[in-house]
């Protein structure tokens, strides 16, 4: 089994779940995240490991990036979900993978994405009293000067 | 006039002798422990202060004397202040009937061994007071562990001493040593078992590895003496090493023939035997991991105590058979 057939199966089962398809990754619609992932985890693809969960600040939106891994087929699937800045909430994956617990807390801490349904949505690396999210591109702090991009 | 005060002067002198022996012995043992551990661990140990670091303990003592005595906020002051004394005084008192030589003993009580065993178990009170008074959760856990441990191991310890008492027919320390003149006790099989039980439970009594559960560096930081600093900490330290000396000295006089020796009975033999036992305990300490609380307790009650009781039974039977 390879990535292409995995994507094909998603398309068959969830006809309007995929928002964008590129050779490297697929972008899912926010609301179809949990059903698609549940299917990927329990189905024949056996993506039993949530290898990595992170986010990228795209200035007007935040892109949440999931790396799912299947030990059985030895394939890594990259899934993205685009969240507009006005509504940075997404369903938590903690019911599916326990690994999501800390990884989502980290994304919340550094990007400000709220994961609904997460059992323990606290900051993880920064102090609790912080209000900013350091990995956002518009992050400002006394003493921190972003280098000019060449 | 002077003759009138002489007995008191003599008494005072004896007291000073014992105290200075304890202080010097503790300092020496601390140095020895550091050297032994260094040897075990491919290190050199203290080397700077004096030849082979022999003055290191003196330097440490000076440092501890000059250190600030910090009282944790919220400590139960009276308990906290009294605890180091409760820990230090009993082992000092136990020297009262320690048979260094044929005549070299402060007072040969006719209940000598009983006296030593009972007075040293007062220590647990001090340890528990330290744990309770410090207002620190680690100390409290350490103190509670210590109380459970020392009370449990007191049983096999006394049972193994009982075998010696039965064999010697006396409670007096000198009497026990004299009873070993034909044959040192640990050479007899039933007494050898008692010796092993004694060593194990004595190691637990003085909280040394593998039974250093009340201190448990990697779990409880330093257990009951976490909050102590300066001279108060030094008192715990001195007590620890004095206790180590006492259990080894008692082992030497109960099982290894005390001051008896091949050439001429003297305090030299006694000290030599005691230090051999100490060196053995140090070797153990730097080799073994620590057992867990429940494992230690079940070992005391399920293994050591029954074996010790059986040993008492067998000894009694042997004595009766001998007539």
């Amino acid at each position: 089994m390879d990535i292409a057939s995995v994507i094909q199966r998603i398309e068959e089962q969830f006809p309007c779940a995929i928002a964008e398809k590129t050779p490297g990754w697929i972008t899912l619609k926010k609301e179809s995240l949990i059903p698609v992932f549940h299917c990927l985890m329990t189905g024949p693809e056996a993506f039993i490991s949530l290898h990595c969960l992170t986010a990228v600040d795209r200035k007007d939106s935040v892109e949440v990036v999931y790396h799912l891994f299947s030990y059985h087929h030895k394939i890594m699937l990259t899934v993205k979900v685009l969240l507009p800045n006005v509504d940075l909430t997404i369903d938590s994956l903690t019911p599916l993978w326990d690994a999501a617990n800390w990884l989502e807390r980290e994304v919340f801490d550094l990007f400000g994405v709220k994961f609904s349904g997460h059992p323990d949505m606290r900051r993880i690396l920064n102090p609790d009293h912080w209000t900013t999210h350091p990995l956002r591109k518009d992050f400002k702090q006394d003493g921190f000067v972003p280098r000019p991009v060449k | 006039m002077i003759a009138h005060y002489l007995p008191y002067l003599k008494l005072l002198l004896k007291g000073v002798c014992v105290l200075s022996f304890i202080a010097v012995s503790a300092m020496f043992l601390i140095w020895l422990e550091r050297k032994v551990s260094a040897k075990v661990q491919n290190r050199l140990g203290p080397m700077i202060t004096g030849p082979h670091g022999s003055l290191q303990s003196i330097a440490d003592t000076v440092k501890l004397l000059l250190k600030e005595n910090i009282v944790p906020s919220g400590a139960d002051r009276l308990t906290w202040w009294l605890a180091p004394f409760f820990v230090t005084v009993p082992p000092v008192t136990a020297f009262l009937c320690m048979p260094f030589g044929p005549t070299f003993i402060v007072r040969d009580l006719n209940v000598g061994i009983l006296f030593i065993c009972s007075i040293t178990s007062i220590c647990v009170l001090g340890i528990f007071m330290a744990g309770w008074g410090s207002n620190n959760k680690y100390s409290l856990l350490g103190g509670m562990r210590s109380a459970a441990q020392i009370i449990s191991y007191e049983v096999p310890l006394l049972l193994s001493a009982l075998v010696v008492i039965m064999e010697a027919g006396t409670l007096s320390m000198q009497g026990i040593v004299h009873a070993q003149e034909p044959c040192w006790f640990f050479l007899k099989p039933n007494l050898f078992v008692a010796f092993v039980i004694y060593l194990i439970s004595a190691t637990a009594e003085v909280n040394r590895v593998p039974f250093d559960i009340p201190e448990a560096e990697s779990e409880l930081v330093a257990g009951y003496h976490t909050e102590y600093s300066g001279m108060k900490f030094a008192m715990f330290f001195v007590a620890e090493y004095t206790n180590l000396f006492i259990i080894s000295a008692v082992a030497a006089s109960l099982f290894l023939g005390g001051w008896l020796g091949p050439i001429r009975p003297s305090a030299g033999w006694f000290l030599l035997k005691a230090y051999v036992v100490i060196a053995f305990l140090m070797w153990i300490r730097w080799t073994l991991p620590r057992v867990r609380m429940d494992q230690m307790m079940s070992f005391a009650w399920k293994v050591l105590t029954p074996v010790a009781l059986l040993n008492v039974l067998v000894t009694g039977w042997l004595l009766v058979a001998k007539g």
């Binding site: 690994a99 | 661990q41 593998p210 990697s218 779990e219 409880l220 867990r292």
Partner: protein, 365 residues
């Protein structure tokens, strides 16, 4: 009427056995742990933010400071990811050198792991000193190679920063039989010890399923009985050319995690031996442009001593990465702790934590 109270104990951030600045909030009933909440972040240096303001060459030294016990492996992870992103070919000699050095560092890291684990079980300092004595040999080899003892900054995108200096291959050849002998000695101290076995067997059991659910990787996953090693299953560099086994445990308890690491040291020695024997001639020094302007993104994992270290790099055509995420193995490995220790007592919590072998540097980043 007796009052019943739970005891909350704050283990850390300064505590002898929390392996750095980890803070465990333990809720106790007597000595039994009812709940354990690890709090992290005391070593947070925002390395991911720094990465967005550094070129890859400038960022290389920061990877040393992630998992500071396995700096070479971190260097390697970043290099491989950038090479994958930029399609850079690496000379065969550099690949072999990277394998040798990564495996040496794995041994150094595992030696530290098993000995600090023994320290946590109360074998005070003796196993640690034995292991440090052997680790020192590796550090000296690294010192010869790159002039550093802890933070090496040796790997470069496209190769390594310098060839082996004269005489170092002889040092490594001497080291292999030495380490085998010393490992045997080390094992006599712990492996068969009754107390050590009683303390670690069936303590902190981590089932295969739980491990995978929590994203646990590396020796911890293998100790749970799952035979998975990126070096074997998705070989990078030239690992597919070597013959070595993947040791696995059976029960997933602390003992298995210990013995898997010990066995991995032996396997690593085997790999080094083979790699040294087949070391090709050539120039390992990178001959590529030092300025990369990656466009696009990639995610790559390598097998670190503590698990799978992943780098996720997003480039936007500038010399600084737009986003660089580090998937730290210890981060996931630590997250499983609270599930492991419920119902154990304090001593076993320390044992379970020690057997997970975490490094706070890469957890907090």
């Amino acid at each position: 009427m007796m009052e019943y109270e739970e005891l909350i104990i704050n283990m850390g951030p300064q505590h002898p056995s929390t392996h750095g600045v980890l803070y465990l909030e333990l809720k106790l009933d007597g000595e039994v742990v009812l709940d354990c909440r690890p709090n992290i972040g005391y070593l947070h240096r925002s390395i991911e933010k720094i990465a967005e303001n550094r070129s890859f060459v400038q960022f290389m030294p920061f990877t040393d400071r992630l998992d500071y016990l396995a700096s070479m492996n971190n260097n390697l992870g970043l290099c491989l990811t950038v090479e994958k992103l930029m399609n850079i070919a690496v000379s065969p000699r550099a690949q072999y050198l990277r394998v040798i050095i990564a495996e040496l560092n794995r041994i150094a890291s595992h030696l530290f792991a098993v000995s600090t684990f023994a320290q946590d079980l109360g074998a005070f300092a003796t196993p640690l000193f034995y292991a440090l004595r052997d680790r020192e040999k590796i550090i000296q080899i690294f010192d010869h190679i790159c002039g550093q003892r802890l933070t090496y900054n040796y790997m470069r995108v496209g190769g390594v920063s310098g060839d082996l200096p004269a005489g170092v291959d002889a040092l490594i050849k001497e080291y292999i039989p030495y380490q085998r002998k010393m490992l045997d000695e080390f094992e006599t101290l712990l492996t068969g010890n009754v107390i050590f076995c009683a303390r670690s067997k069936n303590i902190g059991v981590l089932s295969k399923e739980t491990a995978i659910k929590y994203g646990v990787t590396g020796p911890n996953l293998r100790a749970s009985g799952y035979k998975w090693d990126l070096r074997k299953d998705e070989p990078y560099l030239v690992y597919d050319k070597f013959d070595f086994d993947i040791p696995t445990g059976e029960n997933g308890d602390s003992w298995d995690r210990y013995i898997v690491r010990i066995r991995e040291i032996r396997e690593s020695l085997k790999i080094i031996e083979q790699a040294l024997g087949g070391l090709p001639e050539g120039d390992p020094v990178a001959k590529v442009n030092k300025v990369f302007r990656p466009n696009g993104e990639t995610y790559m994992c390598t097998e670190n001593p503590r698990g799978e270290l992943g780098f996720y790099i997003v480039g936007d055509g500038n010399i600084f990465p737009y986003r660089l995420k580090i998937r730290a193995p210890s981060f996931s490995n630590l997250s499983v702790l609270s599930a492991m220790v419920k119902g154990l007592n304090i001593s076993d919590t320390v044992c379970a934590l020690g057997s997970l072998d975490i490094v706070m540097g890469e957890i907090d980043r």
